[in-house]
Symmetry: C5
């Protein structure tokens, strides 16, 4: 039996759907300055395009607070398709009345901390050196099997819940507390404890984690979906005390939205 | 008698009214460019809607300084109703002359540090394991009783005082000083000392604490109401020296407003 | 003789005039687009209101740099009167051509570190417990006497010097260096050393300290007035090395203005 | 054999092409307000200028997210030529419909950590003192040879890959962890380990490092080019665990773009 | 011989010319919307005023990147004259087409670390107490002599080099590393090492240091002038490793400009 000092610190990770959040503020004065007829024309054009998008993995949420009036959330197969989403939206007349206050670009991600320990352990036991062809092949094979098994989680449907909570986050890289210097086994244990809290809320909250390292300004995006928005607070407050969050989580802005089917967008935009 | 290492670190917490603060800046040039007649029409329409809102838990405050001309504060039963508030405001002609510079979304919160110690202690003594059905039932039962007893504090009336001070805050999560790693008993003690200062000001300041973890960019919002705004400074300065504030409090922007009954909004907006 | 562990950490503090700084940027293109006649009308209206304000504790300064063209500084009896100042300004036609880039709200403050030590010491010697009625009465009595003695410093005239330097500041609350955890006697000593530097500049610089805890985003505002603006730099540079500033001072933006009597505002605004 | 304590800490460094990134947001309402004929005229003028630029080391990328609609990336011989690029763009009618949200100015840089160790070692062995004429001549001679050998890497062609990832970064200068105080040999070792990860991705990712100390607000800019944008995430995530990144890397905003040949810019801008 | 514990920590410092940097962005759409004739009229008026300013210590630089199109740099005798510069510029019709994105206000400064050690040492040896009339007189006498000797450095001509690099900086005041707590002799030694690097670049880079404590948001401004802008990078990179910079320097934004004589401003602004 061999032991490697150079076992990779990166957990095995699966990527799925590409995801774009767009936070939009309506330019109310310009919108209101139109005639009612023109507004209806513009809404009709937008409704058609957005209904089409709803069928392809998009949804609209009306936001609470000043960060925007509307948040569009898009799941797609890849970045090319997200580019297509952007082009479609820009070509709508409605787009002139929308200011994109912010956005978030990421891909659905599953961090396989438990599998990682097993696979790396098994490879090490058999004396397979990291990054050799044999190692790479076995890792790729393992990822492929998991990718198939977890396809529904990697390419999720838009959850049907009426409320969404979105926020980006980082793992801390402080001068004294640095996630990226914690041994893999420690990280695995902390992520396990963290997951256990999530599972107690599984009936009330649907959670989708996306990775954005290299894509956007934070490392991960978190989307929570629920019937009762108070559950977001309870879940996140409870998690704030677990080790991985208390020490290593850093949070960006929080966005709270209420699902607005395209058929009801007029309720928001009609005057 | 049993002792658990896994007694939850989260204090029992009650949630009440949903709350939205909206900071608004008047677009003076556009507003002044209207005819006096048109301004009166717009004010009349707004007065009707805002008077109605005043009856449902809203109030207007004129702000001191550049952060806005007006702050609207809304207490409601839930987020759905806050969404309704937003829709009503957007449909006012006045809204075209208002820029929402910022906002804050939260829910009235009571952190039951003292009860928590008793209840968790009693459950532990009787050997009830955390998160078992028995534990959950007893906790939920306790919360239900407290929720009833504290209903007036959870769903407060808008205090009648002429001055408001609003600010958001976080508990520090530093690399060396981290609120979320302090044992529950320590936190209970510090919150007790903190509360003792507040009680000495009880006659002069009405305080409402709201929780915003998962809802907005800080963890809590604090609203203080008083006759004499100097009391805000004395209270907050004194608290800054208590342990929980000195070490663990981090503050956002401060907003100072003067209550402006809707009937007098014209005083602000008439030229 | 008694010794109390619970001697309050807050120094005795007097509050005086309420103060508002308003930094204004002229909307030059819109202003220049007016006819000369209209500009003169607007200036005449503004001159009347501002001359009136000058008589009540206001002054105008033209700023150096991009942070604004003009800074209005207002001393008043209370926040109500500052609210009145804001209403008067908003009703001027000139206001449409001014963008308020920032502002600062505070009250003149005297921190009585030396008296505090004496009074607390004397009360402790006589065995009077903090926050008992006897304690409160004696403290209030002491404050009342000092408030009368220091009335001119608490409600200052606008200093006549041609240059102003304004900046907000905080006392540090770091994880290792935290002003609010330093014993009162230590703070008293450091503030004494700090004051000694100021006294060496007393002939050249008039200093007014205002407190803004609970009112604005920093804890204190500092206004310096001088004939020669180089003295601001020498004073602040020298102070930066004293213990209380070196370790505990954190500074916001600096604003440098030149006094512009209302009678000469036309020099700035006429084209 | 001599040993110097004053061996310079700066690694030998080669500079190549000057590089400018320009992030642009289309002013859609103003653009859409034009007649289709006028838009075509403007596009025709722009297409000619941009096609010309493509031949000189420029490329256009359509961005994902709100940070901009378009990113122009320019390689040139020197800053004079980048100034010329700016003048050409400003003179296009299209420029009125573009808002430059941000930019990045840097020069292609190769840090020769391995050569540095050898050259400094050899000079020290022969007793040549740093910064003497002999030292300077030998260093300059070495740099000249390397500059010739590495000319293609110093003045790269625009990589042909469809996806780009750009981000700026700093080396940490914390109070406890400070890259600029780490001995040269330690830095060389860490950069070697870092490079080894990069080499495993060489087939999938083309990387261009530019230096911006003295030119822009971060110390380095990183451009990655790939067929599959998921590779950006995998590479950067894996690197985040290596010592030099985990401890010493600090990252700015991330920009993800899709190559858009000038011939297809109309696809983005035509309505 | 006496030794004082209270030798002042502030180095002797000379102040010279007052300096204002103004970063300007052209409002291209509004500018382009004018007729060519009107643009020429406006340019003619501006050329006259700016040519006049060039004769009084001002220069224009076209900027690279999005931070602005133009940077005006003004040396004057005092702040009154800088105020006059601002008034002159605001009265140009061209000013309506310029947005001042930022600015920097400072005075040329020479920190006399070496003289300080000698003078303080000599005074201490002779038993002269700090801040006594004798001390003050001798210090003032010394400063007066140095002020005369260094007049050309205190009131510099605008260097003729084609490239400028400007950035503001602070000395660190961290919780563990704090420049303002380092003994004077230590600071003198570090500044000496720092200066030695600068001297090796003296032929290639002209450096002007200005102090801005009390005037602007950073403590110092640095202007570098060179033929070849790559030298900025080499100098600043090399300095980043010296002790005073590695540990104590904190940098603001960097601005790179190319000298544009007023006679050639039309090249930038003509369409």
């Amino acid at each position: 039996m061999h032991h490697f000092d150079n076992i990779p610190p990166v957990p095995l990770t699966l990527e799925g759907a590409s995801m774009l959040h767009q936070m939009l503020r309506v330019r109310w004065p310009e919108w209101r300055a139109l005639t009612a007829t023109r507004r209806e024309e513009i809404l009709a054009q937008a409704a058609q395009a957005l209904t089409n998008m709803e069928g392809q993995g998009s949804a609209a949420f009306s936001l609470l607070g000043h960060k925007g009036d509307l948040m569009l959330v898009h799941f797609r197969q890849n970045f090319d398709q997200l580019g297509e989403v952007q082009r479609t939206l820009r070509h709508l007349a409605l787009w002139d009345f929308m200011e994109q206050t912010t956005s978030y670009l990421s891909v659905v991600e599953l961090g396989l901390y438990e599998s990682t320990a097993k696979v790396y352990g098994s490879l090490a036991e058999r004396g397979v050196e990291p990054h050799t062809p044999e190692w790479d092949a076995e890792i790729e094979d393992n990822l492929k099997r998991q990718r198939q098994a977890m396809h529904p989680r990697l390419f999720p449907e838009m959850p049907p819940h009426p409320y969404i909570c979105f926020y980006p986050m980082d793992r801390r890289r402080g001068e004294h507390q640095n996630w990226y210097q914690v041994p893999l086994a420690e990280r695995q244990r902390m992520m396990g404890d963290h997951g256990a809290i999530g599972r107690r809320y599984a009936g009330a909250v649907k959670q989708i984690i996306t990775g954005s390292i290299g894509f956007d300004d934070w490392e991960w995006g978190v989307d929570l979906f629920a019937e009762d928005p108070l559950v977001f607070k309870r879940l996140i407050y409870e998690m704030r005390f677990d080790e991985v969050s208390a020490i290593y989580a850093q949070f960006g802005a929080f966005y709270i939205g209420q699902r607005t089917p395209v058929a009801e967008l007029g309720k928001l935009l009609r005057l």
